[in-house]
Symmetry: C2
Subunit: 483 residues, 2 copies
C-alpha cells in the first residue's frame, strides 16, 4: 500500500462523518459487512473491546455480579408477556421463521434485549429473601432492525454489549443497584476511556419500555452531539409482575421482587474513536491501546547493529515490566513510513532510537496526541515511560474536558434553544414542564431532543417556567443533538 | 430446599442419561430453555466456561492468533459460494426471513459456522506474502437446527464455541497450523480438564464439508462412548478458490492461499462434567473450579468465636495467595448440609475447622473426588493446600486414564467388532479398506462408527485385511459409539 492509500484524506473538523468512516476502515477497526447495517470488527477494534470488557467485567464481579449465557432466540409469546417491551421493540425485531427445511410453529425473535427470557429464569431461581439480591450479566450480541444509515459502532443492526439483570427485595435496594452500575459506567468513561461524562435520567417519554426510571451516561462528541453512552434502568415491579418474580420474606409472606437492567454497548468504542482521534488517524488512551509503545530504530549501515541492540534491550525491559511494547525493526520500511503507520493505528507513545540516542544513553519520546517530544535518560526507562503514558492519558482527558466545558448553556425560550444549539451544538438546559409535546418543536426544527434531566427527581428546575410553553417548569431539561 | 431435593437421586452407573440431566440442573450448571434444543447456562456453568476460555485464549494469543467478531448472520448467497459447505449445513440452518414488519429480500442464515463470511474478508485483507500467515478467531455462539434430543452442552441447537480461521502461503504452513491447534486442544484436555485424549483424523466420508483433512481430539466417556472433543481442519485451497483468497509472492506471482479452521465448543464442558462427576454431584479439577477450597467451621456456643476467627484467618491467608477460597460461615445450616451442598457443587477441597483443629493448630482437609482425609499443620497452609489441589488433579487424571486404558481393543471381523463394542464399549481398532460402505453394517447394528484413523497418513494398518469386507486394509479404523 502506498503512503497515500494508508493515510486519512478527509478532515475531522469539516467532514466529520466521512472522516469517521475513513478512520474506522484505515485504522483497521472495522469493515462493512455484505448486509447493510452490519460490520466486521477487525482485530485492532476487537482488542480494544476486550480491554474495555476486562475493566468493566472485573468491577462487576467485584460487586456481586455473575456472568451467564441465555439463548439468542426468544419465543414470540415470551416477548409478548411484557407488552411494553414488545411494543417498544416490535418494529426492530429480526425473526427466525425456519429451522432447516421446516417452518417453525412459533417464530423466534433474535434477542433485541433479554429481559423477557432472563426474568422468567430469575423467577425460577428465586425462592426466598436469602436468594436476593440476584445478579446476572451476559456479554453477547443483540439485533435491532433499525432502518437508519450504518455508522460503525454507533448504529449497526447487530451490536455487541453486556446486559445485566438483577432482582432485589425492595425499591431501595434496586434503585441502589441502578446507581451502582451507572457509577461504574461513568468510571469507565472517566478512568479508562479518558472521557468526561454527564449522568442523568431520561425523560419519562424516552425511558426503556416498562422501566420506572432510566438513568443514562451522556458524552459530548467534538461535533457537539451527545451520545447515550450507557443506560441503567430501575424496572420497578413491572417485569416481576409480568414474569412472576416473587420471594418469601422473613415473615413467610410472598413478595414481588424489584428488578433492574443495565447495559453498555460497543457504542462506547465509537464515542472513544470519535472523541480522541484526529486527521492523522486513531488516538487511543494507553489504558486501552493494544500497543502502548512502539520503538522505531533509525540506523544507517554503520550504526545498524548498535542501534538495533540498544532498541531490543529497551523493548525487553519495557515488556518485562508489563508495558505493551512493539519493536518495529522492519527492514523494508523507512522511519517516516513507520511513524505514519503507528500514528494511524493509535499507538500512544513512540520511542525513537538513533545513533545519537545510543551514544548519549538517551531515548527520544514522542506523544501521539500532540507530537510533543522529550529526550530522556535511558536509565529508568520503565518509570519514565509509565509517567509519559499517564501524561498522555491526562492530556486526552483534559482536551475532552475542554470540549465539554462551556458546552452546557442555558436558554429561556424556544428561539433561544434553537439558536444556541444551532450555532454551538452542545447542551442547552432550560426549564421544562415535563410534557413530551414541548420537545416536538425542537426535534422537528433541528433534530435536538431532551437527552436527560437531573438524576435527583426533587431537584429544583433552573427556571420557573418551561422554555417552550411557558407553563410551570417541573424539571431542568438538557437538549442536545444526538448520535 | 430440603436435603432430598438438593441431592442427586439417580445413579451414574445405571442411569447415565438421567443422572447427567439431574447433575446439570442440581449443580446449577444449566437449565432447559422454553424452546426445545436450547439451554440457559447458569453462573456456575458459565464461570467454568470462562476459565476454560481464558486458558485457550491465552495460548492462541501466544501463538499469533488475534480475536475478531463477524456478523451472526450470513447471506444465503454467501453460504452457497462453497457448495460443499452449503450441502453440509443446509438442513441445519436457522433462517431469518423478516426484519421488523418487512420480509427480507434475501434470507439470512444464523451462522452454523463462519467460513463463508470470514473467508471473503481474509481475501480482502490479504495482499502480499508479508500478510501471511493471517489468523483470526472468534468466541461466539452458532446455531445448528438438529432434530435430536437435547443433552445440555453435548447436543443443543445453539452452542458456544470458538472458531479460528487462518490463511497460509502453502500446504506445509497450513498443515502445521492445523496441528498446532490440535495440540493446544489436546493440551487443554490433558492439563486443564484432567482428561486423557486421543488424537486422529476423521475418515474421508466424515470430514468437515470442503476440508482436505479433519483432525480430531476424541475422549472416552465413562459409559464407553467417544466424544469428538475438538476439531482442526486443513481446508486445502477449496475455500481460497471459492472466495478468492490470493496473495502476491516474492516473485510478484499471484498465488492461492491455503486455509485452516478449528473449533472447540462447550461440549468440552459436557465431557468434563460427565467424566469426573459422581452420584454426589459435580466433580471439578481445581484448574477450572470457580471455588477451589471451601472452609466449613464447626462450632458450638463455647467455641464459636475462636473457630470462626481461626477459619477467617485461614481463608484470608489462602485468598491472599490467590487460592479461590470460600468461608461458609452460614448460621442457618449445619456442617452436614454444607458438606453435601459443596460436594454437589463440585468444590475440589474442603477444610473442616472445629475446636480440635483450633487447639492443635491444625486443619482437616477432605478431597472431593474420593473423600480422602488428611490432618495437616496450620502453618504453611497455602503450600499444603496447593499440594493437595495438585494431588486432586492427579487423582482425577489417573482415574480418567484408567477408564481409557484397556478400552482400546482390536478386532479382526465384523462379528468381533460388534461383540467387543457391544460388551465393553470403548474403542475397537481394526484394519479398514477405506470404504464408507464397510462402516454401514456396524452403524446399523450398534450405532458405532469410525471416530478416527491415525494422524499419520502413511501409518501401516494394524491388520492386512479390512475386518468387514476382507479387502486389503488401507488404514486402521477406530470404531466407537459416540455422543
Ligand atoms: Zn412545556
Ligand atoms: Zn472394507
Amino acid at each position: 500500500m502506498s503512503e497515500q492509500e494508508l493515510g486519512i484524506t478527509t478532515s475531522k473538523e469539516h467532514e466529520t462523518g466521512e472522516w469517521y468512516a475513513e478512520l474506522v476502515q484505515k485504522a483497521g477497526l472495522a469493515d462493512y459487512a455484505p448486509m447493510g447495517g452490519f460490520i466486521v470488527t477487525r482485530p485492532r477494534g476487537y482488542a480494544i473491546w476486550e480491554r474495555l470488557q476486562n475493566h468493566l467485567d472485573t468491577w462487576f464481579k467485584d460487586t456481586g455480579v455473575r456472568n451467564a449465557y441465555f439463548p439468542m432466540f426468544i419465543p414470540e409469546s415470551y416477548l409478548e408477556k411484557e407488552k411494553d417491551v414488545v411494543e417498544g421493540f416490535d418494529p426492530e425485531v429480526a425473526w427466525v421463521t425456519h429451522g432447516g427445511y421446516e417452518e417453525l410453529e412459533e417464530r423466534l425473535a433474535v434477542r433485541p434485549t433479554s429481559e423477557s427470557i432472563i426474568t422468567p429464569f430469575l423467577a425460577q431461581w428465586i425462592r426466598s429473601h436469602r436468594d436476593l439480591p440476584m445478579r446476572v450479566n451476559q456479554w453477547c450480541s443483540v439485533v435491532r432492525w433499525e432502518a437508519t444509515e450504518t455508522k460503525p459502532f454507533f448504529r449497526t443492526k447487530e451490536f455487541l454489549w453486556q446486559e445485566g439483570h438483577t432482582a432485589h427485595r425492595d425499591a431501595e435496594d434496586a434503585s441502589e443497584e441502578t446507581m451502582t452500575r451507572l457509577e461504574q459506567y461513568e468510571r469507565l468513561y472517566e478512568d479508562v476511556l479518558a472521557m468526561p461524562a454527564l449522568t442523568g435520567r431520561k425523560p419519562d417519554h424516552d425511558k426503556f419500555p416498562g422501566a420506572d426510571t432510566t438513568t443514562t451516561v451522556e458524552t459530548l462528541m467534538p461535533d457537539g452531539k451527545s451520545v447515550q453512552a450507557a443506560t441503567s434502568h430501575y424496572l420497578g415491579t413491572s417485569f416481576a409482575e409480568a414474569y412472576d418474580v416473587t420471594y418469601v420474606d422473613e415473615d413467610e409472606e410472598e413478595q414481588l421482587a424489584h428488578t433492574t437492567s443495565w447495559g453498555l454497548s460497543w457504542r462506547a468504542l465509537g464515542a472513544l474513536f470519535m472523541t480522541h482521534s484526529d486527521d492523522q488517524g486513531l488516538v487511543l488512551p494507553p489504558t486501552l491501546a493494544p500497543t502502548q509503545v512502539v520503538i522505531v530504530p533509525i540506523w544507517n549501515e554503520d550504526s545498524k547493529d548498535a542501534v538495533l541492540e540498544y532498541a531490543a534491550d529497551v523493548a525487553a525491559e519495557l515488556d518485562e515490566a508489563g508495558v505493551r511494547v512493539e519493536l518495529d525493526d522492519r527492514d523494508n520500511r523507512n522511519p517516516g513510513f513507520k511513524y505514519n503507520e503507528h500514528e494511524l493505528n493509535g499507538v500512544p507513545l513512540r520511542i525513537e532510537i538513533g545513533p545519537y540516542e545510543v551514544e548519549d544513553d538517551e531515548l527520544t519520546l514522542v506523544h501521539r496526541p500532540d507530537g510533543e517530544e522529550a529526550t530522556v535518560d535511558r536509565e529508568g526507562a520503565v518509570e519514565t515511560v509509565e509517567d509519559h503514558l499517564d501524561t498522555i492519558y491526562a492530556k486526552l482527558y483534559a482536551e475532552a474536558e475542554q470540549t465539554l466545558e462551556g458546552e452546557i448553556r442555558e436558554a429561556e425560550s424556544r428561539e433561544e434553544i434553537l439558536g444556541t444549539i444551532g450555532q454551538h451544538g452542545g447542551y442547552v438546559k432550560c426549564g421544562w414542564c415535563g410534557d413530551e409535546a414541548c420537545e416536538v418543536p425542537i426535534k422537528d426544527a433541528i433534530a435536538a431532543e431532551i437527552v436527560m434531566v437531573p438524576l435527583a427527581e426533587d431537584e429544583e428546575p433552573i427556571h420557573d417556567e418551561c422554555a417552550i410553553c411557558g407553563d410551570d417548569a417541573e424539571e431542568t431539561a438538557y437538549f442536545a443533538k444526538t448520535y
